[in-house]
């Protein structure tokens, strides 16, 4: 199960099994989408599957995630999503209204993100062989002019930006499962991050070095991947990282670290120091990006690791998430 949780085991599965068998000896770092040249035209392509419980939660639903997730994977690779194709895997006996609601949610999310749903496929499996509904989306996108990102371009001194408070989605889902008897006034942050990418690109395109939407495994896992891929140190200032009180409270109670909690609508970016303020202004100028912050910077050391500085002058290493976050009780 840990192989699907987005942390170290997922990475090992991809690098150890998929990459060598499918891509041969190519040693390009793993990004969120592949950029290819087809008949002279550059396109970006990516795919993602969505397995969510519960299907609907405050702030969103599986259908909305399935659109935004793929739009976001393209966006953080520096591409604007143009078209999606969708596969549904449905469990026999799923009420039509539930399916209809998700199709509607997909339609709305696609309109908002400005992407066309160009086709799809449906499979129905026996009752008990799937958990009501799985959705898979594949998207193609057009590269945004001037945006050329790669971990190799990251330099000491670069700044790390986030487009808003972290952990909303993961904690919302955890609470929406209803197993905790905890309530908080929280909503998933599911949304397209393309407006953030486009906003930064308008004023600082050549200075954007790296981007991610920190989904499973959270900000900590994305930044650990960056640290590993660029071989530099990632320094995060804990007090600068925006976290809502509801998320902080739930994390305190359950022994979780907000840095490991999933997001579905935040942009995490590394920008050259001289353009950082401009990029921050651009993020803040996008609706929903008012709480954007600079949360850290790149240094030479600790090479390949993420170091968090606490407010009192202490430090700690933050690693990738191992498996799913499990609440601590005893």
């Amino acid at each position: 199960m840990a192989h699907g949780a987005g942390g170290t085991a997922s990475r090992r599965l991809i690098e150890g099994l998929f990459a060598p068998l499918l891509y041969g000896a190519s040693s390009e770092p793993l990004g969120d989408a592949a950029h290819l040249v087809v008949n002279g035209a550059r396109i970006a392509i990516t795919t993602d599957s969505f397995v969510v419980k519960p299907l609907r939660f405050p702030g969103g639903s599986i259908g909305e995630l399935a659109v935004n997730g793929t739009v976001n994977d393209l966006a953080v690779s520096g591409a604007k999503a143009e078209a999606l194709v969708v596969t549904f895997v449905l469990e026999a006996g799923l009420p039509t209204e539930i399916l209809q609601a998700e199709i509607q949610a997909m339609g709305e999310a696609a309109r908002e993100a400005g992407v066309r749903i160009a086709g799809g496929d449906t499979k129905v499996v026996e009752h008990g062989k799937a958990d009501s509904m799985y959705i898979s989306t594949t998207g193609i996108g057009a590269p945004i002019p001037g945006v050329e990102i790669s971990p190799a371009s990251v330099r000491p001194g670069d700044k790390i930006l986030i487009s808003g408070p972290i952990g909303d989605h993961g904690i919302t889902i955890l609470l929406a499962r209803g197993e905790l008897d905890l309530e908080a006034d929280l909503c998933s942050d599911t949304r397209s991050v393309l407006p953030f990418v486009a906003g930064m690109a308008r004023c600082a395109a050549p200075s954007i070095r790296w981007m991610r939407d920190p989904t499973r495994g959270g900000v900590a896992t994305s930044l650990n991947e960056l640290a590993r891929d660029c071989g530099l140190g990632v320094i995060l200032h804990e007090h600068a990282v925006p976290v809502r009180d509801g998320v902080r409270g739930a994390c305190e109670l359950l022994g979780l670290d907000p840095l490991h909690i999933a997001n579905e609508g935040q942009l995490l970016a590394v920008v050259a120091a001289e353009a950082a303020d401009r990029a921050l202004e651009a993020l803040r100028g996008v609706a929903g990006g008012e709480e954007s912050r600079i949360i850290g910077e790149i240094r030479e050391q600790p090479a390949g690791a993420v170091l968090v500085t606490t407010q009192y002058g202490g430090t700690r290493i933050v690693d990738m998430l191992v498996g799913d976050p499990l609440p601590r009780i005893c």
């Binding site: 197993e179 008897d181 305190e252 407010q311 202490g314 700690r316 498996g323 601590r328």
Partner: protein, 376 residues
């Protein structure tokens, strides 16, 4: 956030750290044990070691419930749940703890019905919604969690719930501290006393540590300021040549403990003659089992329990680490064969386990020591 932020106030923390520096005798090396795994976790998470003077050494204690559980108990519990009519329910803390044939989570992936619950009463809910199944709650923890198991068992009895039982692994903290103090290779100057356990048992049970062993103990909260203040209180006692029990965590811990919780425990549990602890071996009267009148809800009486005994891998030095004799990184397997992803011992699993805390927050920092000067 109320009750949290005021105990993380940077200015106060700096001041308290200065006070510690002023009180600590530079010619003396202090060895203070934090008994509770929650404290170990907080020390690493907040980077407290970086702000303490080098001659104050914090030594992690045995207060991590999943760490002290011998592997055989997990296998015993899982062997009952191999019956397809049994649901294995436990706290999230237990889910990644390795048994000889895998953790509860790995058994779940292979088809066992394993559920995470957030309180023992959730296990009762589970039993009611699954009337055709038997729900076995795998109970762990010190006196912190034992009262909620007691209340759950009282309720099961009151409601004559037939498809529910408890596999009891509750342990008590005092015998563990005694075992540490009896250990010949241990030299300690004082204790940072457990906070959550003391909300239940109060501060009196520690008096023998002060009186007979002549060591100060300060019951402490879990926020950075709590812990630093507790160190101040310990240093003051040591400076004055005193050994007393003090309560830093007065906002939560009553001196006399929680009477209602203690009564519920006494109603449901009795002491086992002896119980095996990982690393510490068999300790007499150190664990709880269900009294005769709750036999019907006692998984150990209801089911055949194989009584599996699994010795830890020879090279693993969990016991020494658990007793505070070795630092996590001094174990031969640390960070090599034994990592949070492939834990060999439970100390590498629980976020309260000293090995996991050290690995997650400190280990690579030590490897990359040069980073510190860059950050300062």
């Amino acid at each position: 956030m109320k009750y949290v932020d005021e105990f993380r106030e940077p200015e106060l923390i700096k001041k308290t750290a200065e006070e510690i520096r002023r009180l600590a005798d530079p010619n003396r090396h202090y060895r203070l044990m934090e008994v509770c795994g929650g404290h170990t976790h907080a020390i690493y998470r907040f980077g407290l070691k970086d702000i303490l003077p080098a001659n104050i050494e914090l030594i992690h204690g045995p207060g991590c419930p999943v760490c002290v559980l011998p592997m055989g108990r997990i296998d015993d519990g899982l062997s009952i749940a191999k019956n397809p009519d049994v649901i294995f329910a436990a706290f999230g803390d237990m889910m990644r703890v390795p048994g000889a044939d895998g953790s509860p989570l790995e058994h779940k992936a292979r088809g066992m019905d394993v559920r995470i619950v957030y309180s023992p009463s959730d296990a009762i809910k589970l039993a009611k919604t699954n009337p055709k199944k038997h729900v076995m709650f795998f109970a762990i923890g010190f006196e912190t969690t034992a009262p909620s198991t007691s209340l759950t068992l009282q309720r099961a009895q009151r409601e004559s719930l037939r498809n529910f039982s408890v596999f009891c692994n509750h342990v008590t903290i005092i015998p563990a501290i005694r075992a540490i103090l009896d250990s010949p290779d241990m030299r300690l100057d004082g204790f940072i006393g457990p906070g959550h356990v003391s909300t239940v048992i109060g501060c009196r049970p520690y008096e023998w540590i002060a009186q007979n062993e002549n060591k100060p103990i300060v019951v402490s909260g879990f926020e950075p300021l709590d812990m630093l203040q507790s160190i101040v209180m310990l240093l003051r006692q040591l400076r004055a040549g005193e050994a007393r029990v003090e309560n830093q965590y007065t906002r939560v811990v009553p001196w006399e403990g929680n009477g209602a919780a203690l009564r519920a425990m006494v109603d449901v549990f009795e002491l086992r003659p002896y119980f095996e602890w990982r690393g510490l071996g068999f300790i007499s009267q150190s664990a709880l089992r269900l009294r005769e009148q709750y036999a019907e809800w006692d998984a150990e009486r209801k089911f055949d329990v194989p009584g599996i005994r699994v010795t830890d891998p020879k090279a693993a030095q969990c016991g020494e680490v658990l007793k505070g004799v070795l630092k996590p990184a001094q174990c031969k397997l640390f960070g090599k064969e034994c990592t949070p992803e492939h834990p060999i011992g439970a100390l590498m699993v629980s976020s309260e386990g000293s090995c996991a805390a050290y690995y997650n927050y400190e280990h690579r920092k030590a490897v990359l020591a040069s980073s510190l000067s860059v950050v300062a």
